[in-house]
């Protein structure tokens, strides 16, 4: 499954959730968006720097800023941390709002484009 397909699934949850996701579409959408980001990054590392593949996401995101422009790296970091927070249970925090999800989704979509432009990665 390509990162784009995860993004599409995430978008579907936001616009037209199935009855089964009536209560959890926010977390589901966040989860799928994050997976899309992680998969996109995996392809990028395979092409650019295979040694980074096994690293934890925290480290991957740090390395990213040395290969891409600072702005893109910052967007990736913000999206990943935001999404991670959104998909975990946090005391006192309610599920993310549609606006937050939408922003992350847009950021990740743009990010994937950016990563694709640098590589010819096959999934």
């Amino acid at each position: 499954m390509t990162p784009q397909l995860f993004l599409d699934a995430a978008a579907r949850l936001m616009t037209a959730p199935t009855p089964s996701t009536r209560r959890c579409w926010q977390r589901g959408s966040a989860c799928l968006t994050r997976i899309a980001l992680e998969h996109g990054l995996r392809g990028f590392w395979q092409r650019q720097a295979p040694s980074v593949l096994g690293c934890r996401m925290r480290q991957q995101l740090i390395v990213l800023s040395s290969l891409l422009d600072a702005e893109t790296a910052r967007t990736a970091r913000a999206a990943w941390y935001g999404l991670s927070r959104a998909m975990h249970h946090h005391t006192y925090e309610l599920a993310p709002t549609i606006a937050e999800l939408d922003n992350w989704h847009r950021d990740v979509t743009r990010l994937l484009d950016r990563l694709d432009n640098r590589t010819e990665v096959q999934p």
Binding site: T15, S20, R22, R27, G28, Y92, E93, T97, I98
Partner: protein
């Protein structure tokens, strides 16, 4: 819950009045003011009112009104809500928490309910038009509408308040109606809620909470004042003060107009003016004398000029005809005398005597020769002739006498016809423009003329003399009359002014008495009002203090008491706050969250007064700036209020539901979320979040239509959430038992990242001991190790080949075990 205050402010005031050490008239005024404006005005005029009426009317009014609950709020196209969304509530006492992130549309429910019931919204009123215009939701396919169903005590099917808008309507243009089930529609005003809404407003938003204490001090004062029914005191006080001001003006008025009156009097040459000045000269003006002066035409004392003028005015000369008549008689008599005087009178008398003697002789000795001449015989013929001669002579003598008498009479009549020269003419009236020289001369001449010796001369000169007198008198009389008129003219306005001043002085004296009484009354009322205020406030203050003490938890701010203090622009609510036991601290030392808690402590008693018809209470986001600890206090307070009231709390995070769960309080938790295009949905009761996550995971796992690649991470994520939640609760329960401060527990939980770390904290008490998790997990439940592993890998997009349904099923007992101590 404050106990109902049985006594109305009126009764309290009347009681105080009975015991008051007030002058009688001041007490009467207060009593009259209590009875109403008319009675008060009468009392000001000096007519004490009749004794107070019975208070049974007020007693029946104070009875508890019919209670109303919210059954549901249905909103379409309003604010954040697009297509119709309904918030179903239970119309009975109890706590309902509606959670939803900011922007989820939860506040729109609160606002819609408030708008439908009150026709206003505190959050927008006073805001710019952008807020007022933005009320319409752009995603709604339908016309905006709000339908609030109400549960009404004694009406089985309740009632509905609806608000509908047409496409082009502004916020205020919509149509609204109220309908009891099975009855015709009525206007919303028929609810009769406008006063209670003002007094007991059952809606409170975050913004208002902030405003309650940070607004002008007088606003909170006014608000408390209203709910305690103390507006009555203000009303009475205003009445007394207004009267006091009016009386003050009235009592000063005479003094202000006095100089003008004095000037007017001084400018007047009139004895009355002098007397008026004398009457005004004393320390206290002689009003009786002044009234008399203002009403009399003249004064007797003003003899020197007024009396002569007045006499001249009244003076009347005989008519010319009368004078001429007398003169004619005189002339005729004189002519007659002249004619008769041809025969010398003595001779005639002598001849007559001689004849009379001769005839007597003839009578005794008829036909004898004349004894005087001895000639002819005095016969009968002679006697006849002599008799005739005698008669003629006698007649002439009588005529002459008569003529003389007539002359004398005519002259006397002429003298008496014109009165003697009046003394008035002797007075010096030149100041009044009356010169009497000519007329005095004319009069003198007339008098002399009438008294002249020669009647012929009198007859000749009298007509001319009369005419001269008359001619001289006429201008003098005219001048005298003019002088009198001038005087009247000059006096009249001053007399009016004097009369007006006397009236104003009389009113002023009454006003001065009333002013003194009113001053005492106002001073007394202000003192008593303070007592009554705090008497009425006491139960509310106690309630607020109790709430604060529950709310404050670990706050070092102590709320000692609440007092209404000051008056006028400096009126305020004194909160006896002490920080760390040091009294006299200002509100400034309190944090925003503490201020909000305090505001809530003050609001809750107000909204739960027994007199309020609202059995519901809608609070929008009270926890926003409260620290987690205070939220526990809030949860307890709300749960307590919810024993007797339907409490609906909207909140943007899970702190309040969590507090309710941790404290094992009874509450319904509803979740509002908002999809794209403003589709707002209300989730049912959440219950235990862990079980909810698992239930969701199960439905997704069983969802045939969803692609496996999508299902795997979502289900893994939900299972992981369930385990994380169970871990959180386990840690909290454990910490709670050992008395660890909640804030510390929460900080520790917040620091933990990741599923295995939280498991390590929950099972081993240390998030760092992730490596030692194997054994405790197996002890917890045999399936636990691989449930944790599979959930994690699925959540991260791995987990290929994992049986999702089985994973969820096995996660159930693991979560259950985690919940056990």
């Amino acid at each position: 819950m404050p106990t109902p205050e049985p006594e109305t402010v009126d009764q309290l005031l009347a009681d105080h009045l009975d015991r008051a050490d007030l002058p009688e008239n001041a007490a009467t005024l207060v009593l009259a003011a209590l009875l109403g404006e008319d009675e008060f005005q009468q009392a000001l005029g000096g007519n004490p009112p009749t004794p107070p009426p019975t208070t049974s009317d007020e007693a029946s009014k104070a009875a508890e009104p019919i209670g109303t609950y919210l059954t549901s709020i249905e909103v379409t196209g309003f604010r954040g809500i697009g297509p119709t969304a309904t918030l179903n509530l239970k119309p009975e006492p109890g706590l309902t928490i509606v959670t939803g992130r900011n922007g989820s549309g939860k506040s729109s429910f609160a606002e819609a309910a408030e708008y439908a019931l009150t026709g206003d919204n505190k959050r927008w009123s006073g805001r710019s038009s952008i807020w007022q215009d933005g009320w319409r939701n752009l995603h709604a396919g339908q016309n905006p509408s709000i339908r609030v169903r109400l549960g009404v005590d004694g009406h089985r099917n309740g009632a509905t308040v609806e608000h509908h808008w047409q496409p082009e309507d502004g916020l205020a243009d919509g149509t609204a109606f109220f309908q009891l089930a099975g009855e015709p529609r009525q206007s919303v005003a028929a609810l009769g809620w406008s006063a209670p809404l003002e007094l007991y407003r059952p809606f409170l938003s975050y913004a208002e909470l902030g405003g309650l204490l940070s607004g002008r001090p007088s606003e909170m004062y006014d608000s408390l004042h209203r709910i305690l029914g103390l507006g009555r005191i203000v009303e009475v006080e205003t009445m007394l003060k207004t009267a006091r001001r009016e009386m003050d003006q009235l009592r000063k008025l005479p003094a202000e107009t006095l100089p003008a009156l004095r000037t007017a009097l001084a400018g007047l040459d009139d004895e009355r003016a002098r007397q008026a000045e004398a009457a005004l000269a004393g320390r206290v003006a002689d009003l009786d004398q002044l009234t008399a002066l203002a009403t009399v035409d003249s004064v007797d004392d003003d003899r020197e000029t007024i009396v002569p003028l007045r006499q001249l005015d009244l003076l009347e000369l005989p008519s010319a005809d009368e004078v001429n008549g007398l003169v004619d008689r005189l002339r005729t008599a004189l002519t007659r005398i002249e004619a008769l005087a041809a025969t010398p009178a003595e001779t005639s008398r002598a001849v007559a005597g001689l004849l009379r003697d001769a005839l007597r002789h003839h009578h005794e000795h008829p036909d004898q020769p004349c004894p005087v001449c001895g000639g002819r015989t005095l016969d009968r013929a002679w006697a006849d002739r002599a008799q005739r001669e005698l008669d003629r002579l006698t007649r002439e003598a009588e005529e002459l006498e008569a003529a003389h008498r007539t002359v004398a009479e005519s002259r006397r009549a002429l003298r008496e016809l014109v009165p003697p020269q009046p003394a008035a003419l002797a007075a010096d009236l030149t100041a009044d423009g009356v010169t009497t020289g000519d007329v005095r001369l004319a009069w003198q001449q007339w008098t002399e003329l009438a008294a002249a010796d020669d009647p012929v001369k009198v007859a000749e000169t009298a007509p001319a003399g009369y005419l001269a007198l008359r001619a001289a008198l006429e201008p003098v009389q005219a001048a005298a009359r003019e002088a009198l008129r001038r005087r009247r003219q000059a006096w009249q306005p001053v007399a009016d002014q004097l009369r007006a001043w006397v009236e104003s002085e009389q009113a002023g004296r009454q006003a001065a008495r009333m002013y003194a009484a009113l001053r005492k009354a106002v001073t007394w009322l202000q003192q008593v009002a303070d007592e009554i205020r705090n008497q009425k406030l006491a139960p509310v203050a106690a309630e607020a203090t109790g709430i604060w003490n529950t709310l404050r938890q670990e706050s070092n701010v102590d709320l000692g008491g609440i007092r209404l203090a000051g008056a006028g622009p400096s009126r305020r609510v004194d909160l006896r706050v002490s920080v760390d036991g040091v009294p006299g601290a200002a509100l400034g030392v309190m944090s925003q969250g503490e201020l909000h808690s305090l505001a809530l402590a003050l609001f809750l008693p107000r909204a739960t007064m027994p007199e309020s018809p609202f059995r519901f209470l809608v609070i929008d986001d009270p926890v926003q700036s409260m620290d987690p600890v205070k939220v526990y206090g809030l949860a307890q307070v709300l749960a307590r209020v919810a024993e007797h009231r339907q409490v609906i709390v909207f909140t943007h995070d899970d702190r309040l539901p969590a507090a309710v769960r941790h404290l094992d309080l009874h509450a319904r938790v509803l979740t509002v979320s908002r999809l794209a295009r403003s589709q707002v949905t209300v989730g049912g009761e959440g219950g235990n979040p862990a079980l909810r996550y698992l239930a969701d995971a199960k439905t997704i796992a069983c969802d045939e239509e969803m692609a496996a690649e999508v299902k795997v991470p979502v289900v893994g994520n939900l299972v992981r959430d369930a385990i994380e939640y169970a871990c959180h609760e386990r840690v909290r329960a454990r910490d709670f038992r050992v008395g660890r401060p909640i804030a510390k527990t929460e900080a520790a939980l917040d620091a933990v990242q990741g599923l295995r770390a939280i498991l390590a904290l929950a099972l081993l008490g240390d998030p760092k001991r992730v490596g030692e998790l194997g054994e405790p997990l197996r002890r917890l439940h045999p399936a636990a190790p691989h449930v944790v592993r599979d959930a994690n890998s699925c959540a991260h997009g791995g987990g290929t080949g994992v049986d999702l349904v089985r994973l969820v099923d096995q996660a159930g007992p693991v979560v259950e075990r985690l919940a056990l101590p």
